[in-house]
Symmetry: C2
Subunit: 226 residues, 2 copies
């Protein structure tokens, strides 16, 4: 059993790596990055780890559990530490930057993890627990906390998709005569960008607006709550 669980290594290297849930998740993340979400199967994962598929099932319950492990790996890289020290809005600003980067580094995970249940991703739930605690402590009404977090996440994940799009995604070359206002706005944006990428510029405008708007809501709900 122990032999089956050990991924094959090249001759001459010590056979010290033993399968663990995290090792499987790391291999799964590499496979997702290389082949995309739709090419991801347990058989291919076993092949990448050079073990029999049955060996995987000593450590994970199946594909959904592997995906939960991938979600944990990614959320491990999202920094929630600011929620312990900063006001909720300043902490959310830091969190959003870290969150977008963690996902933009692994493009195929964005749509995949946005549409699958959290089940089994306990470390990810701990991240949410930290954010929820900070917002409740700040005085947000409890029923509003999760929808507000999900709204911010939707913006972050959409922005992560935008971050992996080509910088000239909106280039109207060849169609300038048919869409003159759009073409002019495209040129004006490019002149104003400087060293900033188009995706970063849009992210900063959106995140600032979203947090400004949430501060407006926060004041309103707190006044309503007395």
């Amino acid at each position: 059993m122990a032999e089956i669980d050990r991924p094959a290594r090249r001759v001459g290297r010590p056979k010290t790596t033993v399968l663990t849930r995290d090792l499987i998740a790391e291999a799964a993340l590499r496979l997702l990055d290389e082949s995309g979400a739709e090419g991801f199967t347990m058989a291919r994962l076993a092949q990448a780890l050079r073990v029999r598929p049955s060996a995987l099932y000593n450590h994970v319950d199946g594909k959904e559990d592997v995906i939960a492990g991938v979600r944990e790996l990614i959320s491990d890289r999202i920094d929630v530490s600011a929620f312990a020290t900063l006001p909720w809005d300043a902490a959310m600003l830091d969190w959003a930057h870290s969150y977008r980067l963690a996902f933009a580094t692994h493009p195929p995970t964005i749509a995949l993890l946005a549409t699958l249940p959290l089940t089994g991703a306990l470390r990810t739930m701990h991240m949410y627990d930290t954010v929820v605690q900070a917002m409740v402590r700040a005085g947000w009404p409890e029923p509003e906390v999760l929808p507000t977090i999900v709204a911010v996440e939707s913006f972050i994940l959409g922005s992560a998709l935008d971050a992996i799009a080509p910088a000239n995604m909106f280039d109207p070359s060849g169609a300038e005569d048919q869409v003159p206002s759009f073409a002019s706005a495209y040129a004006a944006r490019d002149r104003a960008l400087g060293a900033t990428t188009p995706a970063d510029a849009a992210f900063e405008i959106g995140l600032t607006a979203l947090l400004d708007g949430l501060r407006v809501r926060y004041e309103r709900v707190r006044v309503a709550a007395g």
Copy 2:
């Protein structure tokens, strides 16, 4: 040539359907919906239309051009009419609802179209031209217009992903003891939802906040511009 271009129909049905760019795009959208973005090839598209691959190339330049056609089909369903009659922010509210629905109806297109160039999607460029015109007319500084539109789109596309996620995506069942604040916020949200879906609740909170924040920005940049 004309024969090759005509998709095969069942015996007894009139052979009136001739390949067009839009017909190819419609078949491509069906194929994407059924098989996902990664399974999409020109060979499979030709097979779905029961024509030889070469017949497709009489109407489209290749896979990128087919995707441009798919983008046009989807943007055809996004209602921009409000930009002709309502203030920019009220129009953007309508546009965002219509935009999210158009994409949430075709899940595999969300990440695909968010990360590919607009090249060839002239009808989509016309949509942007309408939105840009309305924002410039309202007094938004031209270099800010496109990043602002992209920011709103990022929120919409992230929300479209959330709309296709299972309603119980965040269900912490079994982990309540480890993440009590998160579990309590989940329960509080579910009690408060009523007939609203979790995705709709998050979308409305986020869209309201984003537009409130953009109104703050709009006043600021107009004051700065004198």
